[in-house]
């Protein structure tokens, strides 16, 4: 924004200071994320820029931390990189296992929360929905209630879920099902918020128009409603996926040794002995979040265009 021509000297100075402050805040926001990227290529096991790195000496950089990411936990990581080596990597490397777990858990949690969340958002968008406010507050609460409370509650409940009806039906702790259910519950607020926001711009008369043209409810949903809210549903799903992909406390409490995820590995990495390998993981995660952010941004624009509320 430009200053008006009538601005006084004092105002000009103040405006300059204001821009400097804004720049500093933006630096504060983004610098920590960018700083770790070059450090993950450090040839030395340090967390700071070495002289060689600063003078852009190729010797100062290496891929050793990325290599260690792949090989930690392998049975024979020094063997020749043939088919057997890759199979060893796929089955035994710690971070590869963690990545597989993260994707499996994130995928199913996302499916669960997106399907249930979208259905609920469709109901919440109807004008005749009873107790909307209360239900909305309940559905958003997993985002608000401190995670430690959720995780401890789930820890007790999932260790014997049937205890409340006085039966014993095994445990959900240390199972994929348990972690997926927990993550689905934590992802639901994101789906609800995103999809109801999309639905608020949805013209309900389109449904009546489709019906008057002879479409049955199911056809109306798939041919009229679904294409219009799909961008919102996908971004809601992405939010839910990221929430699961980044979740560590519930995993700490519920998961067993077989369900270790990337954040769980990072957690113990940071707590016990922080090595630049963590920075290599962090860099990969930053790249993933950049691509997800781009996707959501494109989806948002598409959704606005579809609904005809584009600001341009």
């Amino acid at each position: 924004m430009a200053l008006p021509t009538y601005a006084s000297q004092l105002e000009r100075t103040w405006h300059f200071i204001y821009l400097v402050i804004c720049t500093l805040v933006f630096v504060f926001l983004i610098a920590p994320i960018l700083v770790i990227v070059p450090l993950s290529f450090n040839a030395e096991p340090y967390f700071t820029y070495t002289d060689k790195m600063l003078s852009f000496d190729p010797e100062g950089y290496s891929l050793r931390w990325y290599d260690s990411l792949l090989t930690t936990g392998m049975q024979a990581h020094e063997a020749v990189r043939d088919a057997a080596w890759w199979s060893d990597l796929w089955h035994n490397a710690d971070w590869v296992k963690a990545a597989k777990n993260s994707v499996i858990i994130g995928f199913w949690a996302t499916i669960l929360s997106t399907v249930l969340g979208t259905l609920a958002a469709l109901g919440l968008a109807r004008p005749e929905m009873p107790w909307r406010r209360t239900i909305m507050a309940i559905l958003i609460s997993p985002m608000i209630v401190p995670i430690i409370i959720v995780a401890t509650g789930m820890f007790f409940f999932y260790s014997n879920p049937c205890a409340i009806v006085g039966m014993d039906c095994g445990r959900l702790t240390s199972t994929y099902t348990g972690v997926i259910m927990a993550h689905a519950a934590l992802g639901i607020p994101f789906v609800i918020i995103t999809v109801t926001a999309t639905m608020s711009g949805f013209d309900q008369s389109l449904i009546r128009a489709a019906a008057s043209l002879g479409a049955n409810p199911r056809r109306t949903f798939f041919k009229v409603v679904m294409p219009l809210i799909l961008p919102g549903v996908i971004s809601g799903g992405l939010f839910a996926f990221v929430a699961s992909f980044d979740e560590v406390v519930a995993v700490l409490f519920i998961a067993g040794p077989d369900q270790q995820t990337i954040p769980r590995e990072m957690w113990s990495g940071i707590r016990e002995q922080i090595s630049p390998a963590i920075l290599a993981v962090a860099t990969i995660l930053v790249i993933i979040s950049i691509s997800l952010l781009t996707t959501v941004e494109l989806l948002r624009r598409r959704s606005e265009r579809l609904r005809g509320v584009s600001p341009r």
């Binding site: 559905l139 995670i147 560590v248 997800l292 952010l293």
Partner: protein
């Protein structure tokens, strides 16, 4: 009017009013059935677990399950009765039971929560439970002269029933003296409630810093042309989308003794190499990292409110002779209040319950209340953890209710 309405009928002869009511009820049911699956899912995976956990804060049978005789004695004798020979006999028979079921440690731990240093009295007495002989009172006092301490007997009376408020007493930094009256514990032992207050205070500090940092950039984003604003918005959204653990790691890398910030300060000659600042693994580290993590939650609601404030208002104020400061204070700022309210409440709510960042970068003095809950979980003191969790939950739910009242849950937006 109502007469006319009651006379109207539908084509098949039903009164219009009734037909309309049933149609509306059907529509309501249909809308509700769409929400029902999710509601049930949340109930089972989320609400019931929390409810069940909270119950543990008032229910603890660690002691009572192995003390049938003592419970009987306590029921027969009112509060304040000094323990007589029959009481000690009951204790002896219960200790024998504890020895058989190996429950003395558990039971002793339960009393130890209330009167510290008493666990070993129970384990020691239970080990020799089969050699306890009448007169019991003297036998016990020979074992340990503290056995006639009224505080222990009060604690046992309270623990002999599984339903208890003892853990809330502890959580509020209180204890019962020999007469059973509530008193505050020694100032240097006031841990829990003090941390509770400190957590809210730190959350307030973090919220205030977030507001100070977010206000100028939200204003800048709101007043820039759309294309430029969208570009700068990425700088806000990228941290928002980046893993919390990644951001916490970054701050460790930046702030630690041999970290980037200290290196820069040393290189610039601002501090000496031996005077490196301790900025992480303490309260400062918690505040810096949490401000960074929560800042987008402040910027986004501020931005969405500021974007729709018409610029003509401020121009009108200026043209009517207001200085830029007056324009800001009297015209612009009041219009941003809804955004400030939404951002402040949201950041405050999230900050109060924070766990991960303080646990990783908080060190000794940067821990928050959530970390205390976790501490008692690892010590297997479930009831204490549950009592602390309930306190935290109540605080957060009050704020959440306030948020819904003032701003409305449906106004919550992401990005």
């Amino acid at each position: 009017m109502s007469d006319v309405a009651s006379q109207l009928t539908t084509a098949d002869g039903r009164p219009l009013k009734a037909a309309l009511a049933s149609a509306q009820a059907r529509a309501k049911r249909r809308a509700f059935f769409l929400v029902l699956p999710l509601l049930l899912f949340i109930l089972i995976t989320f609400a019931i677990p929390i409810g069940q956990m909270l119950q543990r804060s008032v229910y603890n049978d660690q002691f009572s399950k192995s003390t049938p005789a003592l419970s009987e004695w306590f029921a027969a004798n009112p509060k304040g009765t000094a323990p007589d020979e029959t009481a000690y006999a009951a204790l002896a028979s219960d200790l024998l039971l504890m020895k058989e079921t190996r429950a003395a440690g558990d039971a002793g731990t339960r009393i130890n929560y209330v009167v510290s240093g008493t666990r070993s009295m129970f384990t020691k007495a239970a080990r020799g439970a089969d050699k306890l002989e009448p007169p019991y009172m003297e036998t016990f006092l020979d074992l340990d002269k503290d056995w006639n301490d009224p505080r222990i007997w009060n604690a046992m009376r309270s623990a002999a029933s599984p339903w208890t408020l003892d853990f809330y007493t502890i959580a509020f930094d209180m204890e019962r003296d020999g007469d059973g009256k509530l008193t505050k514990v020694d100032p240097n032992q006031r841990v829990y409630f003090r941390l509770y207050i400190k957590t809210f205070f730190l959350a307030g500090v973090i919220t205030a810093i977030c507001l100070l940092l977010a206000f100028p950039i939200a204003h800048l984003l709101a007043t820039l042309p759309m294309a430029k604003a969208n570009l700068l918005m990425i700088l806000v959204l990228l941290p928002f989308w980046t893993s919390l653990l990644v951001r916490t790691t970054s701050w460790i890398v930046l702030l630690q003794g041999q970290g980037v910030v200290n290196d820069i300060l040393v290189a610039l000659g601002i501090i000496g190499d031996d005077g490196r600042l301790q900025m992480i693994y303490n309260q400062t580290g918690t505040i810096i990292a949490m401000v960074h993590i929560l800042l987008p939650f402040m910027v986004l609601p501020l931005y969405s409110v500021m974007r729709v404030i018409p610029e003509s208002y401020t121009r009108a104020a200026r043209s009517l002779g207001a200085t830029s400061w007056t324009t800001f204070r009297r015209i612009y700022l009041p219009q941003t209040i809804p955004g400030i309210g939404a951002g402040v409440l949201l950041v405050f709510i999230l900050a109060v319950g924070y766990y991960i960042t303080p646990a990783l970068v908080g060190g000794a003095d940067g821990q928050l209340f959530s970390n205390m809950v976790q501490f008692h979980m690892t010590k297997a003191n479930w009831s204490m953890a549950a009592a602390l969790a309930t306190m935290l939950l109540v605080g957060v739910l009050v704020l959440y209710w306030l948020y819904d009242r003032l701003i409305g849950i449906d106004k919550l937006k992401l990005g």
